[in-house]
Symmetry: C2
Subunit: 317 residues, 2 copies
């Protein structure tokens, strides 16, 4: 066990959240992460309410520890998902891609903790003022949908401005980065990409292999010029997309090009014409492990660094 | 004093390098940083060799501590500057914007330490193999010319792959980030933007005020779609430039738009039509201080966090 403001808030052993990944983070992965003493988040984007209810109940069958659900505010069924989360009394939600504030009151009344993802200092202050229980700051190193700031800059800019627990995310692949986030004042971290390599992760095996094969320069951001960043592995899809994007293509044309590419890679294993959404810290993603080994190895490395100082990592003598 | 591989290599008290900033980091600022126990780098991009010689000699008059010179490999007079650095037996060079390897042998023969700036794991391994004394990894949070990776991802990807000292850069504005870099295994940090607010920094006062007034969302990257990132404050220039860039303008047109904009802001104080090159961690850039206060405050904060652990920063109890 390791006490931080986040472990206290959520009643978990270690300050690590396995972040929501659309079409990927479901009950088998989430429950495995929870049994290891961290916590996970069930993704709901693109999924119908009945399926999500089923996933929540399955997760409960596999663990009695707290887990979360992601409320994706661009989903057409966001209100139904929010109601479901309240009915099922899920421990917490992470909330992204829209204005989270109207959801705080109903969720709180049902006893659900609200953890919005915020992109900057202004919104960090606002969600705190409106009663958020914690917040995630996610850097543009992250796989999938990104903001415009990096993890380090978000930690520099946001953490000293708020009092509620801040969860750092984006590019955190090992215990060194967890230690760095905690020493900067984060109460915990959210990791996505590392859990793509969990044995319990149901993503297509070709996606896992593509990540194992990749190095640091192999990701790219699509949508940067339209302020709708999505990071993933360079491939035939991203090449074609960026040619059109950088030639000045419209948002509509680009949206039509990217539609379905995440699911196509994650579920169907089309790693060339789909889009493998993964973060930038690829050189630390080098083996398939159980979710438990990922959690415990990361925690042990972070704890050792925080206890013994940076000399362990080669900085000193 | 604080011993790391970097302080040992350069013979300095604290593992902080004030990074080269074109038209800005000259003898007055650099010598002030050196007298405080860190070290600084004289910028040479766009400057003639006689002027640089004069700056090196003036710096020597103001401090007997080691300092560096930046070798900007896109400068037409790079060979003359390299020769000058050898003749003057400057302590070290940072080398960026080209292939540094051919310069290692002549610089080493003159006793000058070689610290290239590398953008990825492949080049990190290469410069180590070719005899670099240390390397800088600079994240895209940094002001001015940037690569495509963030500081956190570079620290994740590069540090475990090399043995020579790694200096982390990009978005490092306070002692928390210094502590984070060291705990991740960096031997030190390079900071630029924080030193723009040094009393001894000769940048135009309007630039200092614009930085004091700015918040985290106020920077932007120009050149992203042409793989020639330059970060600075959003203004009339950046708006006009990005409109053309995102409409698919040619590299030539864009180069002609940006020519002289750095100097125009830094020297002449035209903060609307020039480009104020500064990093993303703006909320921690909030006061004008002496270079000595910047160094000592940053070191003290980092040291306290590394000694006492993250609870000081609010992560624990």
């Amino acid at each position: 066990m390791w006490r931080t403001k986040l472990t206290e808030l959520l009643g978990i052993d270690y300050p690590i959240i396995q972040g929501a990944m659309a079409y990927i983070s479901e009950s088998i992965l989430v429950s495995a992460v929870c049994r290891a003493g961290a916590t996970g988040v069930i993704a709901t984007g693109g999924l119908d309410t009945d399926y999500v209810r089923d996933q929540i109940r399955k997760c409960r069958e596999m663990t009695d520890r707290p887990f979360g659900v992601n409320l994706m505010l661009q989903s057409p069924n966001k209100d139904d998902i929010a109601q479901l989360v309240c009915d099922e009394k899920v421990s917490f939600v992470t909330i992204g891609a829209g204005n989270p504030v109207p959801f705080f009151e109903p969720l709180h009344q049902a006893g659900v903790r609200c953890i919005p993802v915020v992109p900057n200092v202004k919104l960090a202050r606002r969600v705190q003022e409106k009663g958020a229980d914690a917040m995630v700051i996610e850097g543009m190193e992250a796989g999938g949908h990104d903001g415009m700031q990096t993890a380090l800059s978000l930690m520099e800019n946001v953490i000293p401005e708020v009092q509620i627990p801040v969860i750092a995310a984006g590019g955190i692949s090992d215990g060194r980065a967890v230690a760095a986030a905690l020493i900067m004042g984060a109460a915990g971290v959210q990791m996505g990409s590392r859990f793509l390599l969990a044995e319990e992760c149901q993503v297509h095996s070709k996606v896992k292999q593509a990540i194992l094969d990749a190095t640091d320069t192999d990701t790219v951001i699509t949508g940067f010029t339209h302020n709708s960043n999505v990071r993933g592995l360079k491939n035939a899809f991203s090449k074609k997309y960026l040619e059109r994007e950088y030639a000045g293509a419209s948002s509509e044309e680009l949206a039509s090009m990217s539609a379905g590419t995440n699911r196509s890679a994650a579920v169907n294993g089309d790693i060339e014409n789909g889009f493998v959404q993964v973060g930038m810290s690829l050189n630390r993603l080098s083996q398939i492990q159980s979710a438990s080994d990922i959690v415990l190895q990361t925690v042990e490395e972070a704890r050792s660094l925080l206890k013994n100082g940076p000399s362990l990592a080669g900085a000193g003598q």
